[in-house]
């Protein structure tokens, strides 16, 4: 296990370094001029040239990247041109919001998807099953931007149950979480359904039934708990997926997360902030995928992590 972890972490470092090189080079070779984007349209050509020099953007690519790496190794991700604050501070102040939204969205997926899937499996090929398939389909095919606006219009504007966007207490969280999570409910329902069906055929369930246990006890104690294994894995893999997936939701709801900030950084050609958010997201994705593998191994004794 320890060797495995060390090997995975070393690989992760390589991946992250690679991503940072590629991103940096991509920004460098873009035709846009970060100094001009910082200075705005009306700044004089000479003023832009002075700013370019101050920012070190007139240096060759390898010098710029070298300086960047040197700073990062000292724990300094640089200073955002657009937000006018240290990148680390910008990311850390927004991260909690994005994590909050991601976990809430996964909660929505689980809380709605799993019961729906289990029910569909228990009532296989009835109208309940059909309804769950339909619900799954609708959820998967609704674009989050449209869904978010619809929710805001109906539940916040017309009915007034929730605030019209922004972040704050639980009431602010519900609509964005539903918007982000509903798309995944279908996946979880399908997964829960098939995995429940597998378990229903298992010997130990037949044994439990043969013992004369009441139906609901068999379902709760034997079926659901064994069907949950693949679901937990899926939820873990959702975290990195959602880092990108919640961007649109953050935009619609004015949620002050990392995604919205990253989009603004890209539009403004804010090199340090783009590098910071991309690298940070890469770290998050790589670490959570390692975590999923480890948790999976802990949950399922049949899985061995080989060095």
């Amino acid at each position: 296990m320890a060797t495995y972890l060390v090997r995975r972490l070393l690989m992760a470092l390589t991946v992250i370094a690679g991503i940072s090189v590629v991103t940096f080079a991509m920004i460098y070779f873009l035709p846009t001029d970060p100094a001009r984007m910082y200075a705005g349209p009306n700044a004089s050509v000479e003023a832009v040239a002075r700013i370019r020099h101050q920012m070190g953007l007139d240096q060759p690519l390898w010098v710029q990247y070298g300086r960047y790496v040197e700073r990062v190794l000292q724990g300094d991700l640089g200073y955002s041109y657009k937000l006018q604050m240290p990148v680390t501070q910008a990311i850390l102040s927004r991260l909690p919001y994005t994590l909050e939204l991601i976990f809430a969205a996964i909660f929505v997926e689980l809380a709605l998807g799993v019961p729906l899937g289990v029910l569909a499996a228990l009532r296989k090929n009835t109208w309940v099953d059909g309804l769950s398939t339909l619900a799954a389909l609708v959820g998967v095919s609704s674009p989050p931007f449209w869904l978010g606006l619809l929710f805001l219009y109906v539940f916040a504007f017309k009915l007034g149950w929730f605030p019209l966007g922004g972040a704050g207490g639980l009431s602010h969280l519900i609509l964005p979480a539903l918007t982000a999570g509903l798309g995944g409910v279908g996946w979880y329902a399908r997964m829960a359904r098939s995995s429940t069906l597998n378990v229903l055929d298992a010997d130990y369930v037949r044994t439990a039934r043969a013992k004369g246990l009441p139906g609901w006890i068999v379902v709760v104690r034997h079926v659901v708990r064994n069907a949950l294994n693949p679901i937990v894995t899926m939820a873990g893999q959702d975290i990195p997926w959602f880092v990108g997936g919640v961007v649109v939701v953050e935009m619609v709801f004015g949620w002050p997360g990392i995604g919205r900030m990253a989009v603004e950084a890209i539009l403004m050609d804010d090199v340090p902030l783009i590098m910071g958010t991309v690298t940070f997201t890469a770290v998050l994705v790589v670490l959570s995928s390692i975590l999923v593998d480890v948790v999976q191994a802990l949950l399922d004794p049949r899985i061995r992590l080989n060095a």
Binding site: T32, R36, N42, V48, E100, L110, H172, R225
Partner: protein, 557 residues
């Protein structure tokens, strides 16, 4: 058997723990964020008017980056900076300069090279210290200092000794002279009658040295000035709260007790917030998809304020790319564009332009007729230029609604005279970079990227966008037009103190540029501002030609 049971128990424990964690995170989520309940409370508390205060809330899509007047340079942070700071000079309801922190208009030498300002006595910064001439000197020197990275430094390089200071050859700017506590003199290296306008720009907003040094790079988030409002709270990505400055030096203003700026609000959502009464004003334009509904609804009559924008939106014709090197081809383009249709596509957010200067700009030529819409004549001109069957060319457009739609309209117009137009829709940074590269793009549509004046003087529509000095890589002269004769005339005009004679020179300059057909001026922008009927103020308070929003004059019923 026991082994299996233990394993299963562990598995259950893990599953339960992770579920519990999810539930906890979801429910207690708000405590994670630094914004917490305080910001919420202050906004809703004030909105309810618990303290008898009047609060105005405005929503913007883009985040506000900084309130440091040396740095911020866009239409979201300029009016916000104006809340906190003042300059020596200011504007009246239109485009005339009036004293601000100066007690009177400056004394200007006949050749417009020496400008002496007398400061109003007893004006205090929000930290309680009195404003002196040293603060003005510090402010301008700071903008010129390359370390500040100010986009506005170019406005002040005409001060004597500025270049030496920038190059590190001098420790101060010799042309900035503090004569006494309340008097400051600027000596310019060449005559410039627009220097007064430059001293009314946001870059010249007077800052206290001790606060800048205390906060360093973070001064933009802890601004201290002399202005009508004091920044009380700033939650990045969410909101800013400003409170009335009770010691503001102008009597009777501000009228509001509090201004809240919400950021990160999509315009379509902001419109809903406005209809619901959560906000009092939209900072961004009404989404084009909603415009017709809003404008046709009688309930909205008192919630819309229209105001002209001092801007011209144009097609830049690259005069260094074939076949646009031929003036006849450029003139043909001017006659081929159906501008009325563009105004319709914009839902009335503009008026047809026939010349380079917008109507509000001094020097605008009322008698000039411009090119008529005449596709037949345009075809004829193309024939004369040797293109009887037209040609194929490319236009770059911003990829943000409604710009691509407008470019498609141009495509149809040009097809009628035999020109096949390829449209490239790109994000702002790329269009700007391509347009600023010599010989790269034949045509650029300036919609969404257009020049909005820095100050109301025709020179601001010549030197930075049509002068030889801006026809350089990274410059904003997208027509890549450089006419030495016109340039000499413009240089001379900047030094002319006789205003009428000077404006006459600009009329000649801009007529000549239209004869040369370097642009197709398409329309002059118009603000259609959505606000609640409770928010009251003059048109020039909702959309002032220089400051956009003048918060200090707005009031709430």
């Amino acid at each position: 058997m026991a082994e299996v049971a233990r394993r299963n128990g562990l598995k259950w424990l893990l599953a339960a723990l992770s579920l519990a964690a999810l539930v906890l995170t979801a429910c207690g989520g708000s405590s994670l964020g630094p914004a917490s309940e305080t910001g919420q409370a202050s906004e809703s508390g004030a909105g309810g008017g618990a303290a008898g205060g009047k609060t105005m809330t405005i929503a913007y899509k883009d985040d506000l980056a900084t309130l440091d007047p040396a740095i911020g340079y866009d239409w979201t942070n300029w009016p916000a900076e104006k809340m906190v700071f003042d300059a020596l000079l200011d504007y009246d309801d239109t485009t005339n300069l009036v004293p601000g922190l100066a007690e009177s208009m400056p004394e200007v030498s006949p050749d417009a090279t020496t400008w002496t300002f007398h400061l109003r006595k007893g004006v205090k910064f929000q930290n309680g210290r009195e404003v002196t001439a040293d603060d003005v000197a510090y402010t301008i020197t700071r903008v010129l200092d390359p370390k500040t990275k100010s986009p506005g430094s170019g406005f002040y390089t005409g001060i004597e000794g500025a270049q030496d200071f920038i190059d590190g050859k001098a420790s101060s700017v010799s042309g900035i002279q503090v004569l006494d506590k309340y008097t400051i003199r600027f000596k310019l290296s060449s005559p410039d009658v627009t220097f007064g306008n430059k001293m009314a720009l946001n870059f010249a907003f007077v800052v206290p040295k001790e606060e800048v040094q205390k906060w360093g790079d973070d001064f933009g988030h802890h601004p201290v000035g002399t202005g009508p409002f004091i920044l009380k709270e700033w939650t990045p990505g969410q909101r800013l709260v400003f409170e009335k400055n009770p010691n503001y030096f102008k009597p009777g203003v501000p009228k509001l007790d509090q201004v809240v700026i919400r950021v990160g609000v999509e315009p379509s959502v902001a419109l809903l917030q406005l209809e619901k009464g959560e906000i009092d004003m939209m900072g961004d334009p009404i989404p084009t998809a909603e415009l017709a509904r809003v404008l046709n609804d009688p309930a909205w009559k008192d919630r819309i304020t229209r105001a002209p924008q001092v801007s011209t939106i144009y097609i830049a014709i690259n005069t260094r790319v074939k076949p646009f090197t031929d003036v006849r081809v450029r003139q043909a383009l001017n006659m081929a564009i159906d501008k009325e249709r563009i105004i319709k596509l914009l839902g009335g957010q503009g008026t047809v332009a026939n010349q380079i200067l917008p109507p509000l700009m001094p020097g605008y030529d009322k008698d000039y007729q411009g090119y008529p819409y005449d596709p037949e004549r345009a075809k004829q001109l193309l024939k004369e230029a040797g293109y009887p069957n037209g040609f194929e060319t490319t236009m770059e457009c911003l990829d943000v609604d409604p710009q691509p739609k407008l470019c498609e309209s141009f495509q149809q117009d040009l097809a009628k005279i035999g020109i096949k137009l390829n449209i490239k829709t790109l994000e702002a940074g790329t269009v700007i970079a391509d347009a600023g590269t010599e010989g790269k793009v034949p045509l650029v549509w300036s919609g969404g990227l257009a020049w909005i004046q820095d100050y109301p003087d025709p020179d601001d529509f010549y030197s930075p966008i049509l002068g030889c000095g801006s026809a350089v890589p990274g410059g904003w002269n997208w027509a890549w037009y450089c006419n030495k004769e016109i340039d000499a005339k413009a240089k001379q005009a900047v030094g002319m103190t006789d205003r009428e004679a000077r404006l006459q020179v600009y009329k000649e300059i801009f007529r000549k540029l239209m004869d040369e057909a370097v642009w197709v001026p398409v329309y002059n922008g118009q603000y259609i501002i959505a606000h609640s009927e409770k928010l009251v103020g003059g048109v020039d308070d909702f959309a002032h030609p220089e400051h956009t929003i003048r918060y200090e004059n707005l009031d709430k019923k």
